[in-house]
């Protein structure tokens, strides 16, 4: 037998072969359907007689009004069943650690170093309880305090709160602080409008609305830049503030950002910089120098903590000294010797959630910054931008792909591409290309609805991915585009190797068909 080149299965004519992916498919019921009355995962031992004698009936101290009439209808299962159930579900997944995760632009899906997970899982942290006395949690308070100092340096702001549970919670904190500021000046009733842009992080519009503001959205000018004239048309004595992302979700840096801030300030409004993904500007630009009054970071994006499905996220809200009195409760302070939580802040917007911050997420982000140092952060940003512009060049070489707006300009950390040309030629749309990409084991995201860029796909390669990774992703895109021309049905009928084939989108548009919980589902189908 001739000697086999072991690299052969990976390459053809020197080019890497596309990876084929076949997802596991389990006909796995919902855990509630697996429930069998009386089964238990853990049998809690009876309290020993001596303890019972000492403590009495612990439940007796619960007020009558707080007791349930019936036990909760939770699924009842033995441990092995639970383990099997979740193992199966975990296989029906295309998780961040499983694929070249650059196809979920705006989410900054960088690699989360495993050592940081180990730190977060360490009993010293994992066994902390948020109700512990301050004296016994000096370590995590010190980390929070120190991390705040780092964020101040990174952004130029004067104070931070690490209490927000996620990016949107931080944005909500910021818009709440804007209102508190206007209230303190007796202008809250008058200033009820928040201005944002269509390519800004959509959480800005959503949080401003949740906080009771009217939302005015600006559309881009012909070149895709936020339209300064539109801002001037929107601004008035009713403007509470501007909430804007930069670079926007198109990856285009707003060259008129200082002008935006000036116009809003002159009208008496505040400016909040959404830095949910600050990955392209770390160590390069700062919110403070651009004149912003507030900013926020997502620790699970730029700062490498895993995203929602991998554990909780966390947000960080930053403000200038003038607004610091409005920060959420509590702040973490240091009197020179010991760290403590300061709840005595009468002008604060209050608590966003119980306790003082998601300790494991903050610890991971702290560890990530410490492992890189100031120069490392800047280098991470530079590599992210380099990766993105390399990808941009490669993507543009695929016939049918374009990168609308800002012609001739480099992009920052991501690009919103358009397959419009390919769609017109072949009838295959972006969503279908994305679904077909799953057959090659990579994730792909179009963009937020509604699609302003036609047939969009948003790619953000971060600093985590190698040139080979990027080449692999581009090769998949080129391959699928070619399929769209030669065998459009193959693409339109994808995915071919996934757990679930395609889902009907119509119910997603129809709140009357939604069920967010098992109980709501049973109600809707009339079973209970």
């Amino acid at each position: 037998m001739a000697q086999q080149d072991i690299s052969q299965h990976r390459f053809t004519d020197g080019k890497p072969n596309l990876r084929r992916f076949h997802q596991a498919k389990w006909d796995e019921p919902i855990i509630f359907e697996l429930s069998c009355e009386g089964q238990r995962g853990v049998l809690v031992p009876e309290v020993e007689g001596e303890i019972r004698k000492e403590v009495g009936d612990a439940l007796a101290t619960l007020p009558e009004s707080m007791r349930r009439n019936q036990p909760p209808r939770l699924p009842e299962l033995a441990q092995p069943q639970v383990v099997r159930h979740y193992m199966r579900l975990s296989q029906e997944n295309l998780g961040a650690d499983l694929n070249v995760e650059i196809g979920q632009g705006t989410c900054t899906m960088k690699y989360s170093p495993k050592i940081n997970d180990q730190l977060a899982a360490h009993p010293k942290l994992a066994e902390l309880h948020p109700l512990q006395d301050e004296e016994t949690v000096q370590g995590i308070l010190e980390i929070m305090y120190r991390f705040e100092q780092m964020l101040k340096e990174i952004s130029g702001m004067d104070r931070f709160s690490l209490q927000p549970a996620a990016g949107s919670a931080a944005i909500y904190a910021n818009v709440s602080m804007m209102r508190a500021y206007h209230e303190s000046r007796g202008q809250a009733a008058q200033r009820d409008e928040i201005i944002t842009t269509i390519f800004s992080h959509p959480s800005n519009a959503a949080c401003a609305q949740t906080a009771g503001f009217k939302v005015i959205t600006l559309y881009p000018d012909e070149d895709g830049y936020p339209d300064l004239e539109a801002l001037k048309a929107a601004i008035s004595e009713r403007t509470a503030g501007l909430m804007i992302t930069n670079p926007e979700d198109t990856g285009i840096f707003n060259p008129r950002i200082e002008e935006f801030v000036r116009v809003v300030h002159e009208a008496g409004g505040l400016c909040a910089y959404d830095q949910a993904n600050a990955n392209g500007v770390l160590g390069i630009t700062r919110a403070r120098e651009a004149g912003f009054d507030l900013c926020h970071f997502n620790l699970h994006k730029t700062f490498s903590s895993p995203h929602g499905c991998g554990g909780p996220g966390a947000g960080a809200s930053g403000v200038t000294e003038e607004l610091a009195r409005f920060l959420p409760l509590p702040t973490v302070e240091c009197d020179g010797e010991r760290y403590y939580l300061d709840y005595d802040r009468p002008d604060s917007v209050g608590k966003l959630r119980p306790f003082y911050g998601y300790a494991p997420v903050i610890l991971r982000a702290y560890a990530w910054v410490m492992s890189l140092g100031a120069e490392g952060l800047r280098e991470a940003a530079e590599i992210a931008v380099l990766n993105n512009n390399y990808l941009l060049k490669k993507m543009r070489e695929i016939p049918g792909v374009s990168a609308p707006y800002a012609k001739g300009k480099r992009r920052i950390e991501q690009v919103r591409y358009s397959w419009e040309e390919l769609a017109q030629e072949t009838g295959v749309c972006s969503e279908e290309i994305g679904v077909r990409a799953a057959d090659f084991g990579v994730h792909y995201w179009t963009s937020h609805h509604p699609f302003v860029v036609p047939e969009p796909v948003t790619l953000e390669p971060t600093e985590s991915f190698s040139r080979d990774d990027l080449d692999e992703y581009v090769a998949i895109m080129a391959h699928v585009a070619e399929e769209a021309r030669t065998d459009p049905e193959l693409v339109k009928s994808a995915p071919h190797n996934s757990t679930i084939h395609t889902i009907d989108h119509a119910p997603l548009d129809d709140p009357s068909q939604w069920a967010m919980t098992w109980r709501a589902y049973l109600k809707k189908v009339g079973r209970r």
């Binding site: 269509i198 519009a205 609305q209 503001f213 009217k214 939302v215 005015i216 959205t217 600006l218 559309y219 881009p220 012909e222 339209d227 004239e229 539109a230 801002l231 048309a233 929107a234 419009e420 769609a423 009838g427 749309c429 972006s430 969503e431 179009t446 609805h449 509604p450 699609f451 302003v452 036609p454 047939e455 009907d504 989108h505 119509a506 997603l508 548009d509 129809d510 709140p511």
Partner: protein, 371 residues
């Protein structure tokens, strides 16, 4: 029900699109059609219909008018159609289209697929209104009507999806047409004639541009909630045509003239389907606001389908009292092009140009350019 048990009506307007390539801006009227043929025009509606039919499962039963009005295309597309009615080959008329549509309604077809342009859509609308589900295969010179799919292939795919029971949502789509006589003299004047019920799936109508999360209807309800919460006593509200503005009157519990202009005050209907002179009469000495919505796909806020709201009416009410409402879907279907005004009065058009606040939801507005 399986696709095999479904009945699809097919009408091909054999003269649709004749005028386009020879520069006649339309094909309505037998004289124009003869003129077009003399100029060497070729109808594209057959091949476009075939293109759509090729997307449909052969097991579907097709009901068609004879020859060039459907049967030919159906056979070329691989079907053995059930043929009804009779025509004069080479001399088909709008009357034939209307008769065919009425007959198909009577036969209970599940969907009427028709190839043509705005004139054809009008004929179908005049014949069956909203009683029959319909969908257009774009083949005409003028395609202003939203009842047409983005392309023949999309029309076929959407019809196939619908027949397979995979499309459950319907929407009312505009039937628009331009006065062709006026157009040939260089005057563009489009009119909203009514609405046809079409199957709706995001991806087939205008690509993925016409979105709807959480749904066009929910978006309209949110817009209506916003506008209604801000109505004030003592003001007259001039409400233009459209399904978005209808959501506002519905919230008030009032009927709306879908393709006309109504006037509302203190939550009550003051006058329905008014013309310009009646409007001016009503406005005399009253504070008033105009509520309008752009025409989908075109972006006209004034001058198309709502000419009753004339330059004099707009001047009297004042720019600051014009309320523009639109779902974000409709705005995005403009693909970044500005909103348009064409009132017929240059000064009024200029007054209206610049940036306008468009109400897109409850406490949601966008600032958008008007050219």
């Amino acid at each position: 029900m399986k696709a095999a048990e479904k009945k699809l009506g097919l009408i091909v307007n054999p003269v649709a699109g004749l005028g386009g390539r020879v520069g006649l801006k339309g094909s309505d009227g037998i004289e124009i059609q003869r003129q077009a043929l003399a100029l060497g025009a070729v109808s594209r509606s057959q091949e476009r219909a075939i293109c759509a039919l090729e997307r449909i499962e052969p097991a579907v039963e097709i009901v068609a008018y004879p020859g060039e009005m459907g049967a030919d295309a159906a056979r070329a597309g691989g079907f053995e159609p059930t043929i009804i009615g009779s025509i004069e080959p080479g001399e088909t008329t709008p009357e034939d289209t209307r008769n065919a549509a009425v007959e198909m309604l009577r036969l209970g077809v599940d969907l009427l697929l028709f190839a043509g342009g705005d004139g054809t859509a009008r004929d179908v609308y005049n014949a069956v209104g909203e009683k029959l589900l319909a969908l257009g295969i774009p083949a005409g010179v003028k395609i202003h009507s939203a009842v047409y799919a983005a392309s023949p292939v999309s029309a076929g795919d959407l019809a196939a999806f619908f027949l397979a029971g995979r499309v459950s949502r319907l929407r009312e789509a505009e039937v628009m047409d331009i006065d062709e006589d006026a157009l040939r003299q260089g005057i563009v004047s489009a009119k909203l004639y009514g609405y046809l019920k079409v199957p709706f799936q995001r991806r087939f109508l205008q690509g993925l541009k016409t979105p709807s999360r959480p749904g066009e209807r929910a978006a309209m309800a949110a817009i209506a909630a916003d506008v209604v919460s801000k109505l004030e006593d003592g003001w007259l509200y001039v409400i233009g045509p459209g399904t978005t503005t209808r959501a506002i009157t519905s919230r008030l519990g009032l009927d709306k003239t879908l393709i006309g202009v109504d006037v509302v005050a203190e939550g009550k209907l003051v006058a329905a389907d008014v013309n310009e002179s009646r409007l001016l009469e009503l406005l005399d000495g009253r504070k008033a606001k105009i509520i309008v919505t752009p025409i989908g796909g075109q972006g006209y806020v004034f001058g198309r389908g709502n000419q009753q709201i004339s330059p004099s009416v707009i001047e009297q009410v004042g720019k600051e009292n014009v309320i523009v409402v639109s779902t974000t879907g409709k705005i995005h279907s403009l693909g970044g092009r500005p909103l348009l005004v064409d009132t017929g009065d240059q000064e009024v058009d200029e007054m209206l140009s610049g940036y306008v606040r468009v109400i897109t939801g409850y406490d949601e507005q966008i600032v958008y350019q008007v050219a």
